[in-house]
């Protein structure tokens, strides 16, 4: 999560709609393209956390996804620190590995009980990859989905009496 992805900054090429065709270079921009903005080059570096948040938002848009949940100790710790510091949780349950021109997204989701998991998974892959491509120009090579839990509609109602009984 401590890496950035780098796009070429060529506004001329981007204006031609080629931003989705692999204009991405390695971090550090070893060969910045001196085009656009009056012959000025440079690179665009997008933090992994930004890509993860975009993926998280896209995942939550899909019907049948009830919530995202943390995976592993590192993310769980990150969630605790995020809550303490007031940081947003859009990238909770999302791990991204970003390469030069593509990325891999791992999602850890809670699915609504009556939703079809294969259909939810298909919709997730379509929406997440589309959003990432549209927002960053990255191609999504894989969207790996882990269904961590099911959410039952009456789950909250059942939990309330139990909580009251404990008190």
């Amino acid at each position: 999560m401590a890496q950035e992805r780098t796009l070429t900054s060529d506004s001329v090429q981007l204006d031609k709609g080629q931003s989705e065709k692999g204009l991405i270079t390695a971090q550090g921009g070893s060969s910045p393209k001196p085009m656009g903005s009056g012959g000025v080059g440079g690179t665009t570096k997008i933090a992994d956390s930004v890509v993860a948040r975009i993926a998280g938002i896209a995942a939550r848009e899909v019907a049948g996804v009830h919530d995202m949940t943390s995976t592993g100790l590192g993310q769980a710790f990150g969630n605790i620190t995020g809550r303490v510091t007031g940081q947003d949780q859009q990238d909770r349950g999302v791990v991204v590995q970003v390469g030069e021109i593509e990325c891999i997204v791992d999602l850890n989701i809670v699915v609504d009980y009556e939703a079809s998991i294969p259909q939810v998974a298909m919709a997730l892959r379509r929406n997440v990859s589309g959003r990432i491509r549209g927002m960053t120009g990255l191609e999504t090579k894989e969207v790996n989905i882990n269904v961590a839990d099911l959410y039952f509609p009456n789950q909250d109602q059942n939990q309330e009496p139990q909580a009251a009984a404990v008190r």
Partner: protein
């Protein structure tokens, strides 16, 4: 190397301030970031410090690094707009820019965009 004087009449703090103003004027830029791993700063001769912009001297002119927080908009065209705005601002000040690196350090979401459940 951090450039102390880009031109005889325009110091780097003035240029950095111009870069910040130009960047904030681009639709979709929510703010200036200090940098993710190290604070990007431009130091002036009188002790003034501008954070989020770093200006270094390269062979043919200046290399500018701008750290930004963006709204939920497509990033490649936004970065191109930031680059163009910075180049335009420097051009008006008579400074030659060879490259502008745009670092997207964070995403700014409004309440309706957060989508948390």
């Amino acid at each position: 190397m951090v450039l102390e004087l880009a031109l005889p009449t325009t110091n780097t703090v003035v240029l950095a301030r111009a870069a910040v103003d130009a960047t904030l004027g681009v639709a979709g830029v929510a703010g200036i970031s200090r940098g993710r791993y190290a604070i990007a700063r431009t130091f002036g001769a009188t002790g003034a410090v501008i954070e989020g912009v770093q200006i270094t001297e390269v062979d043919a002119g200046l290399h500018v690094e701008v750290h930004i927080v963006v709204a939920l908009v497509p990033i490649p065209p936004l970065a191109a707009a930031v680059r163009a705005a910075v180049v335009g601002a420097f051009y008006r000040l008579g400074a030659a820019v060879t490259s502008v690196d745009v670092w997207v350090d964070a995403l700014y979401l409004t309440e309706g965009q957060e989508g948390g459940r």
